[in-house]
Amino acid sequence: MTTVTLTRGGDFPAPFWNRVWSVLLWSLVWLFVLNVAAVVASVAVDSFGTRWFGTWLPEGFTTKWYFSAWDEFQLDDVLIVTIKVVASVVLVSVGLGVPAAYALARREFAGKRTILLLLVLPVLVPTITYGVPLATLLYRVNLGGTLAGVICANLVPTVPFVVLVMTPFIEQIDQRLESAARVCGAGTWGVFRYVLVPLLAPGIMAASLLVLVRSIGMFELTFLTAGPDSQTLVVSLYAAAFSAGIRANQSLDALAVVYMVSSLFWLIIALRFVNPVQLVARVKD
């Protein structure tokens, strides 16, 4: 931007301090990015290394840790459980959240503020606060440790999340389009099928991808409710890291890389469809 060098007393003289500021800021950004990259790289390099101690790089490279990690952590079972959990969470939270968001965006009614508060609370209360009693309850009704229990627990933050993301999105769709379809003789199903679904598709896509990335990484709730047969990838990663020393560090790192790749894959797809700037627009009360 071309700045006009009109400065009032007390302001920075624009050009010089602007340049200092932007150099400082971008070095900070680069420092952050480089360090995070190095953190990720040290896991990735170690997972391919044979023996690494006191040198810059491992002595040799191998892929054997991936095969041993696959057997050791029963990754095929874990991955199937993860896919089941994540897919159900995405489908159910969109199925419950989008209709609710539609009602909130289109109607004013008594009790709307209470309902909004009810939907914001699960986002503002720490997961452990409701997770521990919820897990106790689930174990009481024999859902604890099952796939269904894990899915229910994971839905608690995602349903309100979908509502909060979708409400502003639906608000910006012109209501007159629906009215016009009615005038042209469309029934409720017709309006839904030919007007709403195509218009809502990008928003639903964005919301479900976000829920997907979120629930792959959702650790606390799954950890509290999962049993031996319902562990997701992130929980078995924690279990492995917690008992570090029993297994080779490299196979743990291999597991971490599998986790990161499966999560990163979906984020990249998400970023192709949605402009990140518009992801979380207007999370107001």
Partner: protein
């Protein structure tokens, strides 16, 4: 259902009843499944936990809370958690603000930098913990680099202590804070800043006089959402910190009560204290934002 009716009105032509007078019609009923779900799986467990916390395994009604606030291994977790979560959240919000401000104009550059900065969201606390243990450890690249540059003579400890946990919370929390702040910054009408620029305001003045007051509510909300995230995290406190010492966070104490001591009522009491501390912090922050300007921010974005 006709959507021609004005908001607040019922279905056109339907007979007026108590539901219509409240503004409830067929469309508003769509909200019920989600509300029922939240009631069943969020509100009910919270109430259950609250009731359970007053039914200790032995002793009187308030014994769990008395125990929590009299034994130092429990009450000390409150300030230990705050001491980790507050600096991490503040660092994230104040790191995200200038970067988001610098990226406020839509460009190709903005999309690329945003994408790069958002990627750590996929890493997750466990992977970051594992990575930091390797990278900052005594044989890691970071120490080797500092020793090669002769900044230090011997490696010093950055992991298995408070610093490690703080760093991991900053890395995992930053993308979220950044995204939120960026979406608030880009939601402000750029014409306001342009108007100020024609009057001779430097970028710093524009930021101070226009963006900051308008951003205050968004920043407060962003702070709260980021705080929740770092408040409840315990994998990094266990893997990267001293789970028996300086980084024994509330979440960990509650978890141990429930799954190692099998004392569900005491764990519920801890969970309730945790929720209360969180809500106190959130209401303080949201109360502070009331001191700032409240009003329209410019409706350039849907």
């Amino acid at each position: 259902m006709s959507s021609l009716a004005a908001p607040g009105g019922g279905i056109a032509g339907s007979k007026p009843g108590w539901r219509a007078s409240l503004g409830w019609d067929g469309t508003t009923l769509l909200i019920l499944p989600a509300v029922c779900f939240v009631l069943a799986f969020f509100v009910f467990p919270c109430l259950y936990g609250l009731v359970l916390s007053f039914m200790p395994l032995k002793g009187g009604v308030f014994d769990n809370y008395i125990r929590f606030f009299s034994e130092s291994r429990f009450y000390s977790t409150i300030w230990k958690t705050l001491l980790i979560a507050l600096p991490a959240t503040l660092a994230n919000v104040f790191l995200a603000l200038p970067i988001a401000f610098a990226l406020r104009k839509t460009s190709r550059y903005q999309r690329i930098v945003t994408a790069i900065l958002v990627v750590p969201i996929t890493l997750g606390t466990v992977l970051v913990a594992q990575g930091l243990l390797g990278y900052l450890g005594p044989n890691g690249w970071f120490m080797r680099l500092l020793m090669t540059l002769h900044v230090i003579d011997a490696p010093f400890r950055l992991t298995h202590n408070y610093t490690g946990v703080l760093l991991s919370l900053i890395i995992t929390g930053f993308p979220f804070s950044f995204l939120l702040t960026l979406s608030y910054v880009t939601g402000i009408d750029p014409m306001l800043a342009k108007a100020a620029a024609t009057l001779g305001a430097s970028p710093w003045t524009q930021f101070k006089q226009i963006y900051l007051p308008l951003l205050a509510p968004g920043l407060a909300m962003g702070f709260c959402l980021a705080f929740v995230q770092s408040f409840a995290v315990f994998p990094s406190a266990v893997l990267l910190g001293e789970p028996a010492g300086t980084t024994r966070v509330m979440a960990l104490a509650v978890y141990q009560l429930a799954y190692e001591d099998y004392n569900a009522p005491m764990a519920a009491a801890g969970a309730m204290v945790m929720g209360a501390v969180q809500l106190i912090v959130v209401s303080c922050v949201l109360g502070l934002r009331g001191l700032f300007y409240r009003g329209p921010v410019g409706g350039t974005k849907g």
